[in-house]
């Protein structure tokens, strides 16, 4: 437990020293949120009769803030962790740790804890920035969105460790992770609103975990109550990715 705490703190420091981490997890969602809020405005949506509803009947800002909170989790899991872990594998850091009685399970435990911490900071930054910069309506509920957020972080943490386990090199992990990140961002409600996407875009989006994470956070946030179905999907992603990650690392050692 003491070793895990020490390693978690050490990993936090290592990530904080990585410029890419800071940019992706903390800077990027803020910039995107600023652009979208400036373009689409912060007033509640009032479509003319017959026009489609794009932002679920709320202001674009209210629509996007939950999506970008979810995106912070995706940035940590897809962009930061895979190349970090693949680098550990490639450079023998995991073996070095194991030989010093720091088991891989402790390393993974520390990485999961770090991902919760970083995603939490990234998500909070989005909420606080929206609150300070714009007249941002507070969420309708807190527990529901928070639980959905934690589940989403768990799913992306497991995906991050899985990618770190199976990608052949840190560069490959980085490239693949960044690609997944942008595809998910564009097609999961953090880019164009999902209600104005073509059916094809929607189908691709639904095949990816971020879509379900966004809806699971958004629904209770906007006062529509817990979305148990979407929450279940995200939980299933976490379970499957976690099991695959453990299996992949067992096979490698």
């Amino acid at each position: 437990m003491r070793l895990w705490r020490k390693l978690t703190w050490e990993e936090l420091k290592l990530f904080a020293r990585e410029p890419l981490t800071v940019v992706f997890a903390f800077g990027f969602p803020l910039v995107m949120l600023f652009v979208l809020a400036e373009v689409f405005g912060t007033a509640p949506e009032t479509p003319d009769p017959g026009d489609p509803i794009a932002f679920r009947g709320v202001s674009p800002l209210s629509y996007y803030v939950p999506a970008y909170v979810a995106l912070a989790a995706a940035a940590v899991g897809l962009v930061m962790v895979p190349s970090h872990l693949a680098g550990y594998r490639e450079r023998g850091v995991l073996r070095r740790f194991r030989a010093a009685s720091i088991p891989a399970s402790t390393v993974f435990g520390a990485l999961v804890a770090v991902q919760y911490a970083l995603a939490l900071v990234g998500g909070l930054l989005v909420v606080v920035a929206a609150y300070l910069a714009y007249d941002f309506p507070v969420p309708e509920a807190y527990v529901g969105p928070f639980v959905a957020f934690l589940v989403t972080v768990t799913a992306f943490a497991a995906l991050g460790i899985l990618l770190g386990a199976v990608m052949p090199s840190p560069r490959a992990a980085q490239g693949f992770g960044v690609m997944l990140f942008f595809v998910m961002m564009m097609l999961s409600g953090a880019g164009p609103p999902v209600d104005v996407m073509s059916p094809t875009m929607q189908n691709i989006g639904k095949a990816m975990p971020l879509w379900h994470g966004v809806v699971a956070i958004q629904d209770p946030w906007l006062g529509e109550g817990w979305n148990w179905g979407e929450l279940g999907v995200v939980l299933a992603v976490a379970a499957v990715a976690g099991a695959l990650a453990v299996a992949a690392f067992r096979r490698r050692t």
Binding site: K6, E10, G92, V93, R95, R96, A99, S101, I102
Partner: protein, 308 residues
Amino acid sequence: MKTDPVITAQGLRKAYGPTTAVDGVSFSVEASEVFGLLGSNGAGKTTTVECLEGLRKPDAGTVRVLGVDPRAHPERLRGRVGCQLQESHLPDRMRVWEALDLFAAAAPKPLDWTEVLAAWGLSGKRDAAFASLSGGQRQRLLVALALVTDPEVVFLDEMTTGLDPAARHTTWELIEAIRERGTTVVLVTHFMDEAERLCDRIAIMDDGRIVAMGTPRALIEAEVGTVRVKFSTSRSDGRAGDCGWLTGVPHVQAVRRRGDTVEVDGDGPVLAHVAGALLARGLEPVDLRVERPTLEETFLKLTGHGLE
């Protein structure tokens, strides 16, 4: 009373696909001994120590380190075994003190890492990132990490490969310092001079097997067996001639002349007989000497090939 060996390997075997890396290796290492595994690249040295470190599962055979099976009960060896692995790194941005602090935390009774830092001359690099260290500094840090847990056994795998001669000699002094602490050392190397200088006993590995084992001196004497006597004499000195007459002297096996230098191979008391024969002819070479065969010659004889 003889204590139990610190390390035993019995019939160790490990194959990677069709390639057999280690093929029935058995040896034991006594307490406070510096034991060398010597061999060319691909001889199976690293695989052998990786099995001892518990990093690899042998296909067959048994391994005991401090009486413990390292694969089955790694937790019983926590802090008791230190490892310096070949080709292993730390995260680039990890600082020297952070690495020592972390590795110390993994052991039940670690040393005070600030003292280890000072002992290995790294105090000035306390806050330096791993990536910024020179090769010699990295090597020292990796050894310091292996020792910060206050281990009873340390494994050092190819620690001088890629170092310049000055750094190599510094590293040798470090290893001698470890021996002084009474720590048992297993040293993997493909440098003859390193093994000859540092090890109490050596196992020579070739093609996955141990081909010879013993103290460096015993290995050299058992395998090479010959003593080489050298002296200089001018070619034009008629009393010496081509020195072929020396073959008639007892214990002499062969005589070679290389320019002004004469090499005489023989056994046992050959030096005394050669000296007597030279004096009898009125020759008094000032540089008459015995050249001891090196481990390198032993190695060549045993394996039939060089180290590269």
